[in-house]
Point group: C2
Chain length 251, copies 2
DNA sequence: ATCCTGCTGAGGTCAGACCACTAGTATACT
DNA sequence: AGTATACTAGTGGTCTGACCTCAGCAGGAT
């Protein structure tokens, strides 16, 4: 006895919202930074309840596609692509990721990104890299300022690689890595050496020496890794290896 | 005039739920596959409304941490780690990822994963790989069966690499890649050659020949890439290059 | 001119009723 | 007996509509 179903079955409202917004993004109606209509109004437009709409938005927000600002509105994310702010941390908690693994992933990815950047980098990227290198040398005495340009440098390399997907992965890992140890800023002792490596790396990229760029990036990160004591443990050393599940719910 | 605030301020309920579950996972109370209490009951326990609880669960579900099954219950995800099923597709829509970029990312990542697997693989992995290779040869005439073992093989390599983070990334990319072109199963013509390459790759990994494993994996994937016509376009060829934004909202 | 106040609009939460799906169990038919 | 159908309990999904909280702004008091 087919009871009059008031809605199509299986078409989860939340997904309906997700797909709707997805298509708005795909056809260009919605650009990064744009604001979407107020929930009450949007819900009326889509013929669904505000609750369902919110479920869908929550889904998108969880993946970093949208940014919700209480009292202001909901916007399409505009920063660098990323897989959700806390995703790695959460997934890590579930699967027991450790920080040396995150760093290892970073080394592998960025080394290859450097290779690609050396192969494909355009003048604009070279200029931007040069700019950051200069700023780094100018900030040798200010660790916090140095950090900013260090990050910018790496981000530009990601862009220059021409592969936004790998760039997004790196972005996710880097931000998680920072989140887990924001305090441990690099020792100022290493800064000069670090700046020097970035300079060489920049030259390798500009000269399209991909192999060299790869190795330099690898060395650079391995040094940073050592500086933070995040090497891969020799092996399942039974000792009191504090295994650093790093997502040490710092709370 | 402090109006009796019925709850602490700013402690977004959703995040409260997320953190609660996160800690339950971290301290081992919640294991993959476990079921969480029914929404109504859980909400009462946490002293929040069911709506808020659902928002939090939605957040976790979006990132693949939890799996919700209508009419059955909500569970902690148990499959291989992944960054949310549709995350890449959604982020891709926003940032215009293209399929050749996804494949490129896959080649780079899996090649390095093969290197690591060759360096760190244990007997258990070797045995599992051998098993899959055997199954592949046994399924030469059945593309769909072959596919299953092909996937399994690559997944084992990921595990053998000892880096679950990179494995999760690969898992995410692979599933997105499949989602976007489920129909394009490999031509049966290539299957025998493919099986052969997997066999060689297995041998390289078992013999701990990391460089060889890396190169074999790279070759194997480049062939697969070519078979699907997903090479990187020579360059911004102005022609009607159908650029394949691949997340062709296949609807 | 500056600061405080209150309004407005937007997201956040709540409560409770009702719909929809799954799976197991009881019942009826062959 | 055996199998198929119907019922039911349990759980997630959606809706409604009221109220809370926050951010920004306009207008008035100082």
């Amino acid at each position: 006895m087919s009871r009059g179903k008031q809605n199509e079955p299986g078409t989860h409202r939340a997904m309906q919202v997700v797909n709707h917004i997805r298509s708005l993004i795909e056809n260009g109606t919605l650009q990064p930074g744009d604001k979407i209509p107020p929930e009450r109004e949007f819900a009326r437009t889509l013929k669904i309840s505000r609750a369902s709409l919110r479920t869908g938005i929550g889904y998108l927000a969880a993946m970093g596609i949208m940014k919700v600002r209480h009292g202001v509105g909901t916007f399409v994310a505009d920063g660098p692509a990323q897989f959700g702010k806390t995703s790695l941390s959460l997934i890590g908690a579930l699967h027991g990721f450790q920080s040396w693994q995150m760093f290892e992933a970073r080394i592998i990815l960025e080394s290859n990104l450097a290779t690609l950047a050396a192969e494909r980098g355009k003048e604009e990227h070279h200029a931007a890299l040069a700019e950051e290198v200069a700023e780094m040398f100018a900030a040798l005495s200010s660790p916090s300022d140095y950090l900013i340009h260090d990050l910018a440098f790496h981000r530009i390399v990601s862009q220059a690689s021409g592969n936004p997907i790998l760039a997004a992965v790196i972005e996710t890992i880097t931000s998680a890595l920072y989140d887990s140890r924001r305090k441990t800023v690099e020792r100022s002792i290493d800064i000069h050496q670090s700046a020097e490596m970035h300079r060489k790396l920049y030259h390798a990229i500009r000269a399209h020496k991909s192999k060299e760029a790869h190795d330099l990036m690898e060395q650079h990160l391995q040094l940073a890794q050592a500086a933070q004591g995040l090497e891969r443990p020799a092996d399942r050393k039974p000792g009191e290896a504090k295994s650093e599940s790093i997502f040490t719910k710092g709370v």
